[in-house]
């Protein structure tokens, strides 16, 4: 097992943990932050799969716009999930 495989395994673990947090947590603001982290790691994985075009699109959308849209949604509804 070379170092590259170890790095991809660590990154995939981080991605799965962030996705589980985003789905399970009651605080929707934290869920938005966790999905932001997931988008970061997904971008690195696309980059490691030699797809820089997809990675750059994921970066441009996920860094600012998607989190801002989620925060607008939280602002006009409620922050805490019942």
């Amino acid at each position: 097992m070379d170092l590259f495989t170890i790095v991809s395994l660590i990154l995939i673990t981080i991605m799965i943990i962030a996705a589980i947090i985003a789905a399970e947590i009651k605080d929707l603001l934290s869920a938005a932050i966790a999905s932001g982290v997931m988008s970061l790691v997904v971008s690195i994985l696309f980059y490691m799969l030699q797809a820089p075009d997809v990675a750059i699109t994921e970066a441009a959308i996920g860094a600012a716009l998607s989190m801002a849209v989620m925060i607008f949604g939280i602002k006009s509804t409620k922050r805490w999930e019942k």
């Binding site: 075009d53 750059i56 959308i61 716009l65 801002a68 849209v69």
Partner: protein, 242 residues
């Protein structure tokens, strides 16, 4: 109990999907398939699609970045559809968020650091977005990420200044002009060579900025259009503030 059941079901589904996807030959030579007729080379071949793009793409389109060649040249008509879908989404958000009686909300000012920093960085971010979509045929990137970067710069101003508003008329004009440019370039190709979106400009030298014919023109149009649409979505979601 329910949760355990759901988890087992999810794991089972995952295993089934993984077994199914493991058998799809991504990017392999499809020797089991029959030969197909290639109209450009005027002969039959059984080269797989990615191999065909990598072999002939540079001569067909003149673009260095093969993803751009596929998105704008080989599948240019699909891109027109994608841009139209984005336009419809922007219109939908605008009509959902429309309020008749414009109640102005009070908004707390941000601090001096954020105001000065956003004023300083706004121009750089727009410049960087323009760099991404102008160099779409040479480096990774293209119209969609460039437009998203430009919309992010406007989002930054919206966040920093409570009184900032992008003017709707200018956004609409730039969006319509960009869409019009795309369609007119396609129609010119139809007039000149008989194909919609035919690449009628000279290709130039590869890896130079002025190369690849109409691809940079179309990407600039897509970038401006996506940027103004996403800015319109941000503006609609922000609402009316004081």
């Amino acid at each position: 109990m329910k949760r355990v059941l759901a988890l087992t079901l999810a794991i089972l589904l995952f295993i089934v999907f993984a077994m199914a996807f493991a058998k799809i030959p991504f990017g392999e030579k499809m020797s089991n398939y029959p030969d197909y007729y290639n109209p450009i080379e005027n002969q039959t071949s059984n080269m797989s699609l990615p191999q065909h793009y990598l072999t002939y793409g540079k001569n067909d389109t003149g673009a260095t970045n093969m993803v751009t060649a596929v998105v704008v040249d080989y599948r240019g008509f699909d891109t027109l559809g994608e841009v139209t879908v984005l336009f419809l989404a922007s219109t939908g958000v605008g009509s959902l968020m429309y309020v008749e009686d414009k109640v102005k909300r009070k908004v707390r000012r941000s601090n001096a650091v954020v105001e000065t920093g956003s004023k300083l960085l706004f121009g750089f971010i727009i410049l960087f977005g323009a760099y991404i979509f102008i160099h779409g045929h040479l480096t990774p990137g293209g119209g969609f990420p460039g437009g998203a970067v430009i919309a992010s710069s406007f989002l930054l101003l919206y966040l920093a200044y409570p009184k900032f508003h992008a003017e709707h008329k200018k956004l609409n004009v730039s969006e319509s002009l960009a869409g019009l440019t795309f369609v007119i370039v396609g129609l010119l190709g139809l007039i000149i060579a008989g194909y919609f979106l035919y690449n009628f400009l000279p290709f130039g030298l590869p890896t130079y900025l002025f190369s690849a014919g109409v691809i940079p023109v179309i990407y600039v149009a897509i970038g401006v259009k996506v940027g103004s649409e996403l800015t319109g979505i941000v503006d609609a979601m922000m609402g009316v503030r004081e």
